[in-house]
């Protein structure tokens, strides 16, 4: 488990941050989802992104690995910097090849855990995990399999390596998704509401695994509604609303003692929904 240490060969001034986001903006048609967002993530830390639905937090997360292409802004992860001002898909969403290569380079730094897991249904848990290392990174199947077994063991699925996704519970599927994201040895792991689609009694297993990862020093950016998890695990919390960061800081500030009225309203609704 080595990957969390940064491999940046970038500028010395920026070397202490793993991720640097500057003035990110993104619209879907006339609807501006992200107005102007800047923040940094230090290696080995956990950043939780909270905010009402439609606030742009998922779009922000997906921008970090270019699943969404922002209209403007600069994202640097490790030694790869992409200035999105120069990357404009045409009306049909098509990018020229060199620009696609740029996005691929950015994407290589992160692993992604989706809300709906998006496991490959025609592959077993083990095959899902080794797919990236073997097919993309050219790791030998034997090595990749040994590593995948360790990862699946770490997420508590040693018994289930040969099962297909449909044979697993929602929580187990999500944990396979985590193992798959870790298998490509990313610098950064992105979580997009990893527990929102789960039955409540399965949420704990997934959060438990994420806690372990945090304690092992993985750098994580987590979009979540789990305030307790954020309070216990996060190094910084970003509260996003209306496409901007309304409040940011350690959880004991943003969650326990919010300064901004919008943050307070949101937290009240979340904690006392009725």
């Amino acid at each position: 488990m080595s990957t969390q240490t940064d491999t940046t060969g970038g500028t010395p001034a920026a070397a202490d941050h793993l991720v640097e986001v500057q003035h990110l903006a993104k619209s879907f048609g006339d609807h501006e989802v992200i107005t102007d967002i800047s923040f940094t993530v230090d290696p080995g830390t956990v950043t939780c992104v909270i905010g009402p639905s439609g606030s742009g937090k998922t779009t922000l997360l997906r921008s970090l690995n270019a699943l969404e292409v922002p209209d403007r802004g600069v994202v640097r992860i490790g030694g790869t910097t992409v200035d999105f001002a120069g990357i404009n898909p045409g009306p049909r969403g098509r990018l020229p090849k060199p620009q696609r290569a740029e996005l691929m380079a950015l994407r290589r730094h992160s692993g992604m855990v989706f809300q709906a897991h998006h496991l490959f249904p025609h592959k077993t848990a083990l095959e899902n995990v080794i797919e990236g290392p073997v097919v993309v990174q050219g790791e030998s199947p034997a090595d990749a399999t040994a590593r995948a077994r360790e990862l699946l063991d770490k997420v508590g699925l040693a018994e289930h390596v040969d099962k297909y996704p449909f044979q697993l519970s929602g929580g187990q599927q999500q944990r396979v998704g985590i193992a798959r994201a870790l298998a490509i040895r990313p610098d950064l792991v992105l979580f997009d509401e990893p527990t929102s689609a789960l039955d409540p009694e399965l949420v704990g297993d997934v959060l438990g695994v994420m806690k372990t990862l945090a304690s092992e020093g993985w750098t994580m950016v987590v979009v979540t509604h789990e305030l307790r998890f954020a309070q216990q695990v996060a190094d910084q919390v970003l509260f996003i609303d209306g496409g901007v960061i309304v409040e940011q800081g350690p959880p004991q500030d943003v969650i326990a003692n919010p300064q901004h009225p919008r943050t307070r309203t949101f937290l009240t609704r979340l904690l006392e929904p009725i």
Partner: protein, 489 residues
């Protein structure tokens, strides 16, 4: 189906006829009309290819030892070939495609009771007659109202639409119902679907000898003598040699001998069971060597085309997607039979000549490609976007994502509709009969023509097709089970 196919046939021939005279005229423009009569003299090729129907007893049909091609016209043609010292090779062709195939250069000469008339003489090189006969008017037993040609006015007559007899019946005021060969014409008459038919006296006489209890009778002869001639392309230069051979064979009594062989002594007819036994293996062999390979190769090539076109169709590049859209639209918007004919009969006019089996493979592959492309597209598009995203987050590019993630899953949804395409293809290969591929259905036609055992032989053909499709259906359900292993029951 047969009838619809026939209508198409007529349409295509019509189109070809528009094109043919144009090219013919261009070729002949240097030498005026006299070319036909005086013309140049050219040696016959060492192997003379002869177009013939193979389903027109007793002139051209399958029978005798080994179920080979035989008949009056065949014997005459063999004698001519021997006399002139050239090898004769037969190309079996449905009558209504005969002249199109001659134009397309599929063979050099037609020997199939081609009746001399002026229109034909203007367009083709026609030899001196090698046999003369008259037409007869045939009706159902018990028919009282049709006793002479003039009574045909307003009646329905079954004929080969491009034959001389169709002209005679039409001239008498009959409405022509197009059929593929004489035995089908008789069949239609016996079943009351038409009122009469006009055909060659010798052919009808032969039929009545084979089937003495048939429900038809001859009521009149046509006035004109019909002269059967050999036909070649205009300006072929073959006429002097052919005419000399015919004259020589008449002089030495060969033609008389052949005539006596086919129109003299009585014949014995084998039983239905015997005919089915005799044809069971030839038909199975046709299925194994033609129908099944045609299906398998066409489907395999078609799937490659389908994948390419299906992916192009989904491309965000407007030109690429447009090409795919156009291709699919053309394939789905035109009949398969027309596509077959375009490749087999029309391409030769542009100088591209391909053999029947290959032409069939090309036409069927292109057709499957068009239909299956839409299946590929819909099954790929039915997959959640998240699969593409997940693949890209583990670092896969487009090609790897397709190969490793998308296509294996798309295969699952695509198998049932693709199986439909495959099973349709098995049956559609019977259309290859129209472009001279002697596959299962054509083999049944050939066997049915001289024996008139339609029910038994077409029934057997149906059974063979059915068995092939049953095997495929079984394979389909096996494949589905395999592909469903990763899906909750």
């Amino acid at each position: 189906m047969k009838r619809a196919a026939h209508a198409l046939f007529v349409l295509i021939l019509g189109l070809l006829c528009v094109a043919v005279p144009a090219t013919g005229a261009a070729a002949a423009s240097g030498s005026p009309a006299s070319a036909a009569t005086t013309g140049r003299t050219a040696d016959l090729p060492p192997t003379l290819k002869v177009g013939t129907e193979g389903v027109y007893p007793p002139f051209s049909y399958h029978g005798g030892p080994g179920n080979g091609l035989t008949g009056y016209d065949i014997d005459v043609m063999n004698a001519i070939g021997k006399h002139l010292g050239v090898k004769v090779e037969y190309v079996e062709t449905p009558f209504d495609s005969m002249f199109a195939a001659l134009e397309a250069g599929r063979f050099d000469v037609v020997a199939n009771q081609i009746t001399f008339n002026e229109e034909r003489n203007a367009r083709y090189d026609l030899s001196d007659p090698y046999v003369e006969t008259t037409g007869v008017l045939v009706v159902r037993k018990g028919e009282k109202n049709i006793t002479k040609l003039a009574d045909l006015k307003g009646k329905r007559a079954a004929e080969n639409i491009t034959s001389n007899w169709a002209e005679v019946a039409k001239g008498a005021g009959a409405t022509i119902v197009g059929v593929d060969d004489m035995s089908l014409a008789i069949d239609n008459l016996e079943q009351g679907r038409v009122d009469a038919l006009v055909n060659d006296k010798l052919a009808i006489r032969n039929y009545l000898r084979t089937k003495p209890d048939a429900g038809i009778k001859v009521v009149a002869e046509t006035n004109d003598v019909s002269k059967s001639v050999l036909a070649a392309k205009k300006g072929s230069g073959y006429l002097p040699q052919l005419n000399k051979a015919i004259a020589d064979l008449r002089a030495d009594g060969t033609l008389d001998k052949i005539y006596a062989k086919y129109f003299g002594a009585a014949v014995t007819t084998p039983s239905t069971w015997q005919i089915m036994r005799d044809n069971a293996w030839p038909m199975a062999r046709a299925a194994l060597t033609k129908t099944i390979p045609l299906t398998v190769i066409s489907f395999a090539v078609g799937m490659v085309i389908a994948l390419a076109i299906g992916l192009m169709r989904m491309s965000s590049h407007p030109v690429v997607a447009g090409i795919a859209r156009l291709y699919i639209s053309f394939i789905r918007g035109t009949p398969l039979l027309v596509q077959l004919f375009l490749i087999f009969y029309a391409l030769p006019q542009l100088g591209v000549k391909i053999n029947p089996f290959l032409a069939a493979v090309i036409a069927f592959s292109l057709n499957v490609g068009g239909y299956a492309a839409e299946i590929v597209r819909s099954s790929v598009e039915s997959l959640p976007r998240g699969q593409w995203e997940a693949a890209s987050t583990v670092g896969m590019g487009y090609a790897a994502t397709l190969r490793r993630v998308i296509l294996p899953q798309a295969a699952r949804t695509a198998v049932p509709p693709l199986s439909n395409t495959l099973i349709s293809l098995v049956k559609d290969t019977s259309l290859a009969a129209t472009i001279l591929v002697v596959e299962l259905f054509r083999r049944a036609q050939i066997a049915a023509a001289p024996s008139f055992e339609f029910l038994a032989l077409y029934g057997m053909a149906a059974l063979y097709y059915w068995v092939i499709c049953l095997v495929l259906s079984f394979a389909q359900s096996r494949t589905e089970t395999r592909l469903n292993r990763f899906v909750a029951a």
